[in-house]
Symmetry: C2
């Protein structure tokens, strides 16, 4: 690439910060980072990072530009890549499409969704039919421990591939994905791979996320205790995983036979790890249940796969979102005399 | 009855206190009450009661005798009735059979289980095969607002019937149940009925308890909000109720077609009522999930009725009990290297 890629990166948690660092220090990208809660701190002092791959004691790191809102695309300065690392909460406006809209140059900006869940590309492709939409599945362990300070303690492995979009030729999208892999890997420290089979990668990750994230959130329980109790694995986690596996199969994705046993044991036991959705509810944050529980359930339904456990998990996580929304003042539940259940 | 019945009453919450009051003031029973948390207060000052049926401002009420532990049966002073109004937590020792054992005179004491749930009689009949075991289903609204102080704000309606026991002739058990109805009603203020069909009464109440109690507990949500959200009713409460109804049917109990719609709407909407199991978990108390969720599920399984929703509710409530037990110091979950899920 002759000139540096003009990258807009939205979302500044652990994943977003480490992506900003890798892209900017690789030298093949100028990163404009859109920050929220940590905007002031990072504008003044830069990020502080302890990283298992980039080194400890990094201070004062700033990308090319730091903004506190999504900029509008300007002529001659279009963003080549718009990387989204925010939570994906489609049940709340503004949703991801709303958030990125001002920055998108139709037919040009490549939209990279570095987010969990199924069918996250659907509303993006609908809104931006002429832009390539790229799947990013990150396996990084990185946490923002206080505003602007990130502890990156597990390797940054990410898989970048193509979401099929009717109006974008596949070779254009593939080239865009491979270019993103190139600029991400330019720092020489991380392991970003081109992903030939995005549905496989996403369904594989859902085996963990749909089960452990939802059940940990409903119970506020770490995954070590689930394995200690055994019954949480036997009566909740495994039945949920088996439904996701069956839905994947019906969608043409054949996951390995031992995938559930592998995912059941994938977390270390000495850290009493709480999955991210559980961390979110404990902080009072909205939860990403629609793409992590709702979409696999709906996909299964379309394909004729019975998912009674997922339906129940969906019912509970949607009810928890209702409570979080009330606590945040986004809704004010009031009893009405003409209610459906009056 | 020539002489007064010698009644032992174990459990001193709202239900237990109002039963003590009705039995003692009716004049056909001498009640020995076994109290725990409120023993000291009530020994000194008696109970304070505001009652929708017995009157407001009752103070200093004491039954014939107040004890702080279950007494041993003494020759010539056997208890005619042992009434149990404690929570029923069979997964913890001492269980109900353990608790009442010292007071039971084999072949004589009639054991009245004024408790919720299915199959609560099974361990009692096993331990005390020669004693009549009586079912009590109470619909009272009574709450102990502070130790020894009870607000009784909804009518005391109870149904008393027979649990079949192989070694106790049915006519003996029926006579015992009817005698209990007589001494309970003697105060002239309450509505205690002989129940011809205990399975019907218990399964009917389970339609509410298995669904609303478990789901409210898992979500810490009142039933008014569930009806406001609608989706909690549609996606959780009704599916659970339908499984209980199907299980009841397989057990030979035909509940009315409209039972679910009736139970969905049975609570007032202006009180934002949290079912008792939800109140328990919010107080850090152990929960009665085995007889309210586990037994209907196991009964359904035996009868070939699929209950995927109940199985999931059971998984969650059992996991919550695990957390409550840990918080109470009853268990100390530790990861072991040779664990099943290592």
């Amino acid at each position: 690439m002759a000139t540096k890629a003009n990258v807009l990166l939205i979302g500044s948690g652990g994943v977003g910060t480490m992506a900003t660092y890798a892209l900017q220090t690789g030298g093949k990208a100028d990163v404009t980072a859109v920050l929220r809660s940590n905007f002031k701190v990072v504008s003044e002092n830069g990020f502080s990072i302890d990283s298992v791959q980039h080194g400890d004691g990094i201070t004062g790191f700033k990308p090319t530009q730091i903004l506190n809102q999504v900029p509008s695309a300007k002529e001659g300065q279009a963003f080549d890549f718009i990387v989204v690392t925010t939570k994906n909460i489609p049940d709340i406006r503004p949703n991801v499409a709303d958030i990125i809209e001002p920055a998108v140059t139709p037919g040009h900006s490549v939209i990279v969704l570095l987010q969990n869940g199924l069918n996250i590309q659907v509303p993006i492709i609908e809104r931006f039919p002429t832009n390539a939409v790229i799947s990013g599945v990150s396996l990084i362990g990185a946490t923002e421990t206080s505003p602007g300070t990130v502890r990156h303690d597990d390797e940054d492995v990410s898989k970048i591939g193509v979401f099929e979009s009717p109006k974008v030729p596949r070779d254009v999208a593939v080239a865009a994905a491979k270019k993103f892999v190139d600029i991400y890997n330019a720092c020489g420290k991380v392991d970003c791979m081109y992903d030939e089979d995005v549905p496989f990668t996403r369904w594989r990750k859902l085996i963990y996320n749909t089960s452990y994230n939802a059940i940990a959130t409903i119970l506020r329980m770490d995954t070590t205790r689930m394995r200690i109790s055994e019954h949480v694995i036997d009566n909740l986690i495994r039945p949920a995983m088996l439904e996701v596996k069956a839905a994947a199969k019906a969608a043409g994705v054949n996951l390995p036979d031992d995938i559930c046993d592998l995912m059941i044991r994938i977390d270390p036991n000495d850290t009493y790890w709480k999955p991210s959705m559980c961390q979110d509810i404990e902080k009072g944050n909205l939860i990403e249940f629609e793409n992590i529980v709702g979409e696999p359930m709906r996909e299964a339904e379309k394909l004729g796969v019975a998912t009674p456990v997922l339906k129940t998990l969906y019912g509970f996580t949607k009810a928890l979102q209702f409570q979080i929304m009330e606590a945040k003042g986004l809704i004010s539940p009031k009893w009405e005399k003409d209610s459906k259940y009056a």
